[in-house]
């Protein structure tokens, strides 16, 4: 009976194995039910592609598009940006100031969150204080840095503890009025308030944080009906919403995909309605595949590469000519056409076309410094003393975004101009995290890929964080007193047109110094199925879900 006995041990080991691997198969029944409720198609629901948000869905903690997409649907801010990027009053009745530093904000009466609780001035003040307090570890807390008292709740020093829990610049006057005191004059500050970090938060956020994160509540056009982390989110119109963008469909189902290629296959076979991340490989034939149901428009994203201005060999006097020359050695038009299939637009300034001419975008501002001119480029680089060490290594991260192709193309362009095929080479870093780590620690010795996605459609967002000496994302550690002065003047200027002109002056100075080379504006794309129509994208390249109709 030897055989039978060993069989018993086999069974024993198998039981252990099953216990270790399948300890939670009891979850299966639950997920099957969900599959049933979300698989249907012709019920007026828009099924849209989604990526897993990187952070919990807290307004002040969401700094990437996938979380932002949801916040955009479930929150109505004091101001909201329309399709052209203009900030209009929505939750606010009025925002007034006499000195560009003290603002009085009145909220519309009778606004309600989707759970029925009222939207009061406290909803805003508490939310902003929460976002600013350093111990809450909110990634967007620097948005509140202009409010008086920010330093007390969010000290600069890494080791210092906050000395207060709330910012002294925020004062509740009554249920529907509050005042904001900024630390210095800032005329266009109210236009920032459309950014979702400034969203109001209901009581539940503070009282029962875990429950809130499981199913966030807002005051926007949609409310979350169900949310399975990492898989899907179903949004339905919020019955308490009284704002101007009432949804024209019966809801939105956001589906998380493991890759956009899969989503594209689903879109083609009618399993998905809206995809705003068309895989690069499918771009050449996307119009044929989708029968023209495709849009490609500029987004608030500019791609650049930065010089390490903290390295003397790149910043010493005379190098501005080399930096200018490198910029002029890049054939942006050909690269955007050949590599990106027209999904990038060659850059003409440091902002983005979504701002519009009135908002500070200019297609002539950079002038010759971004025009491909091989002769002039070579001349400038030689005059400036040539590329330091005879070779520049253009750094990028290899793990996402297929940067290798364009980095190689940019280098080829520079090499052709200089007649030296070793003048510029790509220098990949394995992961984005490692790449960013080296940049923020100021360890780069060579130029590196950089980019900027706007937070709100204002010129100041494209200039101040990147080129002011104390700018929060000034990765090249560029510093020029003229630029700093112009930025301060622009902030204090009450007349928006004059303020923008001052920003543009600062921008001109930056382009003369060329600490970063503007490359191209990224476009937003979206493809959609024949089951939906009226798909458009806003200035943030989010599909405007409220406008989509289901056929």
């Amino acid at each position: 009976m030897r055989g039978a006995k060993s069989a018993k041990w086999v069974v024993g080991a198998a039981v252990i194995a099953l216990a270790a691997t399948a300890c939670s198969s009891s979850d299966d029944s639950g997920s099957k039910d969900k599959a049933k409720s979300s698989g249907s198609s012709s019920d007026g629901i828009v099924r849209a592609w989604w990526g897993d948000p990187q952070n919990p869905l807290e307004p002040a903690n969401t700094n990437e598009v996938q979380g932002g997409k949801v916040l955009d649907m479930i929150f109505m801010n004091l101001k909201e940006y329309d399709a052209t990027g203009k900030a209009n009053l929505e939750a606010a009745d009025s925002i007034t100031t006499t000195d560009q530093q003290n603002f009085t904000i009145k909220i519309k009466p009778d606004l309600k969150f989707s759970d029925g609780t009222p939207v009061t001035s406290g909803s805003f003040v508490d939310a902003w204080n929460y976002g600013a307090l350093v111990t809450n570890k909110q990634l967007n807390s620097y948005f509140f840095a202009d409010i008086d008292g920010y330093k007390a709740v969010h000290p600069d020093d890494e080791k210092a503890a906050p000395t207060a829990k709330t910012m002294s610049g925020l004062k509740v006057v009554d249920d529907h009025t509050f005042t904001v005191k900024l630390s210095q004059k800032f005329s266009t500050w109210p236009d920032r308030l459309g950014y979702k970090a400034f969203a109001p938060l209901p009581k539940e956020f503070f009282d029962n944080h875990a429950a809130y994160l499981a199913k966030p509540i807002g005051d926007g056009p949609y409310m979350i009906e169900s949310y399975t982390k990492g898989t899907s989110m179903k949004l339905v119109p919020n019955p308490n919403y009284t704002g101007p963008s009432k949804p024209k469909n019966k809801g939105v189902l956001l589906k998380v995909y493991t890759s956009s290629d899969t989503a594209y296959a689903d879109l083609q076979s009618g399993q998905l309605d809206v995809l705003d991340d068309i895989p690069a490989a499918d771009l050449p034939h996307v119009k044929d595949d989708l029968g023209g149901r495709y849009l490609n428009q500029p987004a608030g994203i500019i791609q650049t590469f930065s010089f390490p201005m903290y390295k003397p060999e790149w910043s010493k006097s005379g190098m501005e000519k080399v930096r200018q020359g490198i910029s002029m050695a890049i054939d942006r038009k050909t690269i955007t056409d050949k590599i990106f299939g027209g999904t990038r637009t060659p850059a003409n300034d440091l902002t983005s076309p979504v701002l519009g001419a009135a908002g500070g975008y200019s297609d002539t501002l950079a002038g010759d410094s971004v025009k491909y001119d091989p002769v002039k480029a070579k001349q400038l680089i030689t005059e400036g003393g040539g590329i330091p060490g005879g070779q520049m290594k253009l750094g990028y991260n290899a793990d996402s975004g297929s940067h290798k192709e364009w980095v190689d193309a940019v280098c080829n362009s520079i090499n052709n101009v200089l007649g030296n095929n070793k003048a510029c080479v790509g220098a990949p870093t394995g992961t984005f995290a490692d790449f960013r780590d080296q940049i923020t620690k100021g360890q780069m010795t060579q130029p590196f890929r950089s980019g900027w996605q706007m937070d709100y459609p204002l010129i100041d967002d494209f200039i101040t964080p990147l080129y002011a000496t104390s700018g929060s994302s000034n990765d090249s550690k560029y510093s020029n007193k003229t630029v700093d002065t112009l930025i301060n003047q622009a902030n204090a200027e009450a007349d928006p047109a004059k303020s923008i002109a001052l920003y543009q002056q600062a921008e001109k100075q930056v382009l003369t110094d060329m600490p970063i080379v503007p490359l191209w504006y990224q476009n937003g794309q979206a493809g959609w199925s024949s089951k939906v129509s009226n798909v458009k994208e806003n200035a943030f390249s989010y599909p405007i879900f409220t406008e989509i109709t289901v056929n």
Binding site: R2, G3, K5, S6, W9, V10, A13, I16, A17, A20, T21, A22, S24, S25, D27, D28, S31, K32, K34, A35, G39, D52, P53, Q54, N55, P56, E64, V134, S141, D156, D157, E158, K159, T228, K229, G230, T231, T258, S259, D261, T262, A265, D266, Q268, S269, Q271, T431, A433, D434, R436, D437, I439, T440, S450, W452, Q453, P465, S472, S473, D475
Partner: protein, 307 residues
């Protein structure tokens, strides 16, 4: 036998510690996870310092490993890159991958062994040559090619099946990914079985069985198959682990939110907790599958005894 099993289980402890430490060190070496959280933006130093402190990133590596492992034994695998507890991810991802593995394993075992047996019995004839040629093609095409090609034709062009797997990973959606995942192993199983069967058809004991006048069915199932399956079982056993870990490509193509996908996300987002958590469980699966294979030998081959 009992002592053997206990000894093997005890041997797993150092292997387990070694692998988890190794993976922990490797993921840790990938760079600072906090830097990636802020995207292209420079992290606010005070906020970054807070997050680093909470993740124990300032402590020495070995201490981080100790903190992590002691939490694991309390059932806390830490938080993933998106602040979801890794235990939640484990609970949702493993059943999904297990379903995919079961589908792939069944396809691989049943189809592979059947093809191998028929090819082995008809050695040198048309069917045999056909199986050899077909498996050669399957082995030489990378999984992602088969995946995308099948997805395009069956899912998009002809609309026979859904091109992606829906929520909850129902079995009917898993057939195509299962086939893709099983493809290469299936070819190996078929070839392995074929060789083994072809060899054993000429063995003395089989000739004896035929000479005794036993019915053909009994000769094949009891005498030939049982002996031919020993190398195949070894392969199938170790392949369970491979299927679960190697589903990374297949899971991405077919939108399966399983183990491979989560490990990929963990690596991309530089999250040691996710990667180590998932790999730890995979290591246990590997070790137990190997133990199972070794024990199955004794059942199949009476000559093997464990003391």
């Amino acid at each position: 036998m009992g002592r053997y099993v206990i000894r093997r289980l005890l041997q797993m402890v150092p292997v387990f510690i070694g692998t988890t430490l190794l993976i922990f060190v490797m993921v840790w070496g990938l760079g600072d996870p906090v830097a990636a959280m802020f995207g292209d933006r420079t992290p606010d130093p005070a906020t970054a310092a807070q997050i680093r402190h909470d993740l124990h990133l300032n402590d020495p590596l070995i201490q981080q490993y100790w903190i992590y492992m002691s939490n694991v034994f309390k059932g806390d695998f830490g938080n993933a890159w998106n602040q979801q507890p890794v235990t939640d991810l484990l609970k949702t991802a493993y059943p999904v991958t297990l379903r995919l593995t079961i589908v792939a394993f069944l396809i691989e075992a049943i189809v592979g062994v059947a093809l191998g047996v028929f090819a082995g019995l008809r050695r040198g004839r048309f069917f045999d040559t056909g199986v050899l040629a077909m498996t050669l093609i399957v082995v030489s095409i990378p999984t992602f090619v088969t995946g995308y090609v099948l997805q395009y034709f069956f899912g998009v062009k002809w609309s026979i099946v859904h091109p992606s797997v829906g929520e909850g990973a129902p079995f009917k959606d898993l057939l195509m990914p299962g086939l893709v995942l099983a493809g290469v192993s299936l070819a190996y199983v078929a070839r392995l079985t074929r060789t083994s069967v072809a060899e054993n058809t000429r063995a003395d004991y089989l000739r004896t069985a035929v000479a005794k006048g036993l019915p053909r069915r009994r000769v094949i199932t009891n005498h030939m198959l049982r002996n031919s399956l020993i190398p195949v079982v070894t392969f199938l056993g170790t392949d369970i682990g491979n299927l679960m870990a190697g589903a990374l490509v297949t899971e991405r193509i077919f939108n399966i939110h399983g183990v491979g996908y989560q490990i990929y996300q963990g690596i991309v987002h530089n999250s040691p907790a996710t990667v180590v958590g998932f790999v730890t469980v995979l290591v246990i699966v590997f070790l137990l599958a190997n133990l199972l294979v070794d024990l199955l030998y004794a059942v199949l081959d009476p000559r093997i005894r464990y003391a």
